[in-house]
Each structure stands twice: as structure tokens, then as C-alpha cells.
Symmetry: C2
Subunit: 192 residues, 2 copies
């Protein structure tokens, strides 16, 4: 490998990313980068909501920024991502799954299912993005399918279910997770 | 005043709220309660985003919840509220103004103006809710009007401007700030 003229080693990213686009990247990071890209090219405005925290104590040191010295994580009452695309309200949750065989429902809060039901009833395009990390496959699951399955007796969704009921999201370098392409196909008149 | 049978004093709210609905209530609180109401009656799904904080240190004490022991407030890159109403993406910021004569632009971050422009271009219904606390008047200002005024040379918007360009939001007990009524009138075919 050729180093930079200053003698520093070039960051070794290219060869790795070419062979396995998402290796070492979390789903959250991939989605955030995709959203940055969509925002930049003025395709959509979709953001991750900040992590909800309960702030208990804030210190105000002289001549420096207010410091939160005691706070706790709160259980989220909504999904993590929302925004607007082609006039439509977009609302979704993203989950990474380390199992090879199934996605456990325990990783989605009941609040979030209730929220998905609600936004769906108000006309949002709602869905869940689930990545099977072991296969490096990222699926788009329409909210109504998740809600239906969640309401049943099952405690998880088998990997095969995704093959049949969900849509594999095209991944690449930019955007890394092109979920808007799936939305175009499913909801906005494109071909499936 | 008649006390509860257990001897405890009744919380003194009714007589005060009747005489001045919003006295002592912050705009944020009023909007949150209005959103709770809209959610409850299944009229809309609109939430305040959590306050964005940069988490630096988290302690994991044995047998108790993870404690954030160092974190800092971040400048918000979006508006505070968004959601979905009648299939439309809703996006807005809310600001309280203590001046009697004008609303200073310094209370809106440039990021937020950029964000309003962006969501507007993608088809959201975008606006700013501004309350003149001294008059207890809460105004609905369409985003394009705020953006236009912000881009000019003025550093503030005079109170009189609101009388002409903005819409006074009906306030009451439930919902406290009925901004969806204004949206119905302005965007969804109702009368102005």
C-alpha cells in the first residue's frame, strides 16, 4: 500500500468495504449515513430521534457549558426514526438481530407496536428494518405485518418468514441502506 | 373550599384555570398535553422529540439502572415536534416570547430554519407556534413566512406583524392549544 506523502499510513478502508460493504458497521450507523445522504441530495428529510433520557441533575459550572451529572435512559414510547418523503410521513424502527434462525419479538417494545399501529392509522408509511447480522441481510417489513405477527402467539419470527414476507433492502456504498427504493416500489407506484 | 374526606387539601387548580387557562403553564407543557389529547382521541400522532444530549459517561451500578453521569446539551438540528395528521407529515417548532413588542429571531437556530425549508420542500405541513406570554396569545405562523422574514435584514418580528400575518390559535382546556384546527382551516379545505 502506498502511504500519504506525510508518511502517515492511509486508513485501510477501501479494500475491506469493497469485499463486505457493511462489515463492522452497525445498522444504526448505516441508516444514519443513508439519511444524511437522502438529506444532502434533497431526496427526503428523515432523522433518528435523540435517545430519550430523564435528566435529574444539571450543573452550571462558571464559564463552561451546562453539564448533566445525573440522568437515566427512558423506555422509548415511539419508534426511533421519522420524517417526510414525497409528502408522506415516514415512521420506522430499526433492529439488528444476531440470531441466524429467528428474530425475537422481545427486542421490540409493546409501546413501539402501539405507536406503529397509531401512525399507520393516521396515514404514515410505517415499517421495521431488521438486519440479520450473520447474513448481512437487511429486511424491510411493513408495519402491518409486524403488528399482525406480534399480536399472535409466536415469540419470534423465523428467518424463513423474512424470505417470504419481507423485502431485502438494496445495500451499497451510498446510500448504504436504500430503503426509500423499497418505499417507491411498495407505496408510490413503482414496481415491486 | 371543601377538603377531601381524608383531610388532605384539594389541589387548588380549578378556580385558577377557569380564570386564565394558561396562567403558569409553559407553551411546551400546553403543546405536550394537546398532543396527548390528540393521540388519545386518535386524531393525530404528534410528539415532542427528546432533548438531544451528548452522552459522555455511563455508570453501570450493580443491580440498578444504568446511570448517565456526564452528558451535555446539544444544539438541536431539527425542530422539536413532528408527526402525522390525516396522512400529512407535520413538523414544527414552538417558542415562547416574553417581550410585549417583538419576537427576536435569535431564539430560532439557523439549523432549524434550514430544517423547516427542507421539510417544506418535501411536502410536510411546517410551521412555528409562537406565544406572547404577556398577552397569553399563541400564534400559528406558516413556515414559509418565518423563513422569508428570517432571510431578510430584520432581527425580530414586531408584535403587530403577528396580528396581520399569523393566526391566533384557539386555546381552551382540552386541547389547550388547538393547532390542528388551524391546520384544517389553512391546508385541509376548511375555511380560514
Amino acid at each position: 500500500m502506498i502511504n500519504y506523502p506525510n508518511g502517515k499510513k492511509q486508513k485501510n478502508t477501501t479494500d475491506k468495504t469493497l469485499s463486505a460493504t457493511n462489515r463492522g458497521m452497525t445498522l444504526e450507523n448505516d441508516i444514519n449515513l443513508s439519511n444524511d445522504f437522502y438529506l444532502e441530495v434533497e431526496k427526503a428529510n428523515i432523522h433518528k430521534k435523540p435517545t430519550p433520557v430523564q435528566i435529574v441533575t444539571v450543573d452550571y459550572p462558571k464559564r463552561s457549558a451546562a453539564k448533566i451529572s445525573e440522568a437515566y435512559f427512558k423506555v422509548p414510547s415511539t419508534t426511533d426514526y421519522n420524517g417526510v418523503y414525497k409528502g408522506k410521513a415516514i415512521d420506522f424502527e430499526a433492529k439488528e438481530c444476531s440470531s441466524k434462525t429467528s428474530f425475537p419479538f422481545s427486542s421490540i417494545h409493546p409501546h413501539q407496536i402501539k405507536h406503529l399501529k397509531s401512525v399507520l392509522s393516521h396515514g404514515a408509511i410505517a415499517f421495521v428494518i431488521i438486519r440479520f447480522s450473520k447474513y448481512n441481510e437487511t429486511y424491510f417489513v411493513e408495519a402491518h405485518k409486524v403488528i399482525e405477527a406480534y399480536s399472535g402467539e409466536k415469540r419470534s419470527l423465523p428467518y424463513d418468514w423474512f424470505k417470504q414476507e419481507a423485502i431485502l433492502i438494496p445495500t451499497g456504498l451510498c446510500p448504504r441502506v436504500d430503503y426509500l427504493k423499497v418505499i417507491d416500489q411498495l407505496y408510490l407506484g413503482g414496481q415491486k
